[in-house]
Subunit: 425 residues, 2 copies
């Protein structure tokens, strides 16, 4: 029944039923976690044999990957990430196990030394701002916050960020130095940027010459479905930028954190030749080199895009039923109430849920009391401040399917209770 | 013959002989490299089976190391580094493959956020200085240089840095915020700090409350000799600092880069509980976590200090003849000239050579022409500026023994030629 049409008695009855159900769950002592996009054990076991693949240590160029040398990465791994990101291998810098750490370095390098040689380091400026399409990835926002940068929220729409807002802010304010995006199977909204959105990004006219798009393509190959027509397709932003002579405007990132292992994977970044030389020069101060042993281990295990697709289909086979469980629970329990909305992603790691305004914090708290941990309400907005107190990020990957069903029952009852309380207040 | 006693004819004869010898080497097209402290292939093969040891992925605490969680490191690895550095495992933060990268992060964190919560970030100060006992490690100096910090050279003496100079500078100048040291088998001097030097470090009275000692114990277990009496022993600075209630004053670093693999090893840092909490909090912005798969791989392969000592004796068996070759070449070819001096280290990776004043650059250039690459002259001083143009760092580890003998012949002839030229000029 549509909540808008419920009278007070209906609402009190819904509230009582939800309280009873949640009390029951509380007594069971559940311990379920849907807080972070963590792979489950079955996913991690998919690539267990990767640890046995490395018995010879020379890369294609004949270099012993166990020894110092070659800051930019093994050629095999550069080629693989070049294919994932759609750029020439020469533009790829393969790093350690964390692409987030490369983003942190890149923002830090702009802060300490400047975006390119001769540009003003950001620490010397009174004000630096980053645009943060929201809901977005909390760890992105934390990086810019660390470097004393103001995070400016921008709305996310159905096909990407609100480009009208972004174009205006970027063109009018020289303090706007960057924008964080996850362009494919976005965290948390699950959407992939439309071709038009990508083209508008590639045509931005920033007031700041050192404006950069942080294009975190974390879920570039993370489809839930095998059929081409059920996969999202992201336009290659680098090609579009190049057409406009603006290829310095982007840093692209990817990793195997959700391909092989969350901790023991390989991260990479790709960029224009000019950006590459400057990042390489400064990165060479921060480390002698990354773990090329692990890079080669990965390249041997995943020699090409076909091998990569096979691994990703293994992940999809595990994740698809979990996403379907979340979506069918939401549909079954909440669609009729007509007071919430949620994304129906075809890839990535998250379902983005919008509860009635002013109830997200309460829902997360109710879930926690009943033993289900969610990402903190508001975490998907800069400074943890969701102005509507509405968005909740659901991460279905980690719990086993049976637990996930229980967790979703707890979640849906919590939504009903919070919605009823709100309507009655 | 003592060079001081040579007449012009003697010098011209020496010069002619050296020119002839070097011309001969140039015609051979040698390609030998003694520039960096790179392990040789035999050393890297010592631990080849480390890649086969990891088949189970739960650490002592039952956590799957392949998944997110636990920023500070696997318990096994924290214990191992606790033993290497002589501190409680709770004080150890195990990182990725590069301890230099942890130093870079630590200086950067002071620069961006401050040394502890509430302290002024260094980027807000007009002037920040680091003391750089020299000759020292060029990559240390590069890190502080990157963060706009002035590197101030301080002399190295036979038992450690000139502590009179350090005490005075630290106590009198609040802009002095840190000091770089390699306290055991120092890079490049090969000496180990005496107990008195360590105690004087631990008793420093800095004018700056956020002064820190960067104690890079890179060669903590890197003895060339098996017998206890032929090994250097470094006093535990943390214990000494604690006696003085100054335990916040140090960050300690170590790694397995010269234990297992130069690139695929594990780095770690250790510090006081107060420093630990602050570093942990800020490091959590820069990464979700380090490669705990590789940490566990290492802890399984090297479960205790006995296993570590066995590996290190394998390295010593390979390195000892190389150091002996370098030292016997120098002794045989140059001792009589009485115009040079060099270190005779009992561990580590370097021999530090002092040529006649004003000849180091010339010697390095002569070697290069004859196919032998050395660390650039001056690199061991801040800003590459050796005021005496005298120090050269010799790294014997990488070349095979047969090539090393040739390389040392080239080196000694280059010294003779440069010394003769200088005396004749």
């Amino acid at each position: 029944m549509d909540m808008q049409k419920m009278n007070k008695d209906d609402l009190l009855a819904l509230k009582a039923a939800a309280e009873q159900a949640l009390a029951d769950y509380r007594s069971r002592g559940l311990q379920l976690n849907m807080a972070r996009g963590k792979p489950c054990t079955e996913q991690l076991d998919l690539c267990a044999s990767i640890h046995e693949t490395l018995t010879k240590f020379k890369d294609e160029d004949g270099a012993d990957v166990r020894n110092y040398g070659n800051l930019v990465g093994t050629p095999e791994c550069r080629r693989l990430f070049g294919q994932i990101l759609g750029v020439d291998p020469s533009q790829v810098l393969v790093g350690g196990s964390s692409s987030l750490n490369m983003m942190h370095f890149t923002v830090g390098n702009a802060y300490v030394r400047g975006v390119l040689d001769g540009m003003t380091p950001w620490h010397k400026l009174d004000k630096v701002k980053f645009l943060c399409p929201s809901p977005g990835y909390d760890r992105h926002f934390a990086v810019t916050n660390y470097f004393n940068i103001e995070n400016v929220p921008v709305p996310m729409l159905a096909d990407g960020p609100d480009m009208d807002a972004i174009e205006k802010l970027v063109a009018s304010d020289p303090a706007v130095k960057g924008v964080w995006v996850v362009p494919k199977y976005s965290n948390p909204s699950g959407i992939t940027f439309s071709d038009e959105v990508v083209r508008r990004f590639a045509a931005l006219n920033p007031a700041a010459e050192d404006f950069r798009i942080f294009w975190d393509n974390a879920y570039a190959v993370h489809d839930l479905y095998a059929e081409e027509e059920n996969r999202d397709h992201l336009l290659n932003i680098y090609d579009e930028l190049k057409k406009n002579g603006k290829e310095d405007m982007v840093y692209m990132f990817a990793s195997t954190s959700k391909v092989t292992m969350a901790t023991g994977g390989v991260g990479a970044m790709a960029m224009s030749p000019r950006n590459f030389e400057w990042i390489k020069k400064n990165l060479g101060v921060a480390t002698i080199g990354f773990d090329r042993v692990n890079q080669l281990r990965h390249a041997r295990y995943i020699p090409d895009m076909q091998a990569l697709d096979r691994v990703m289909q293994g992940h999809a086979a595990i994740l698809r039923p979990k996403f379907e469980t979340v979506l069918s629970s939401l549909e079954r329990e909440l669609a009729d109430l007509n007071c919430c909305s949620w994304s129906k992603p075809r890839g990535g790691y998250f379902v983005s849920f919008f509860a009635p305004k002013g109830t997200a914090k309460r829902i997360v708290a109710l879930c926690k009391e009943a033993g289900v941990v969610l990402t903190g309400a508001g975490a998907t907005y800069p400074y943890g401040n969701d102005p509507d107190d509405s968005n909740i990020r659901i991460a279905p990957s980690f719990p086993p399917l049976s637990e996930l069903e229980q967790a979703m029952e707890v979640f849906c009852w919590s939504v009903k209770l919070a919605a009823a309380e709100k309507a009655l207040s």
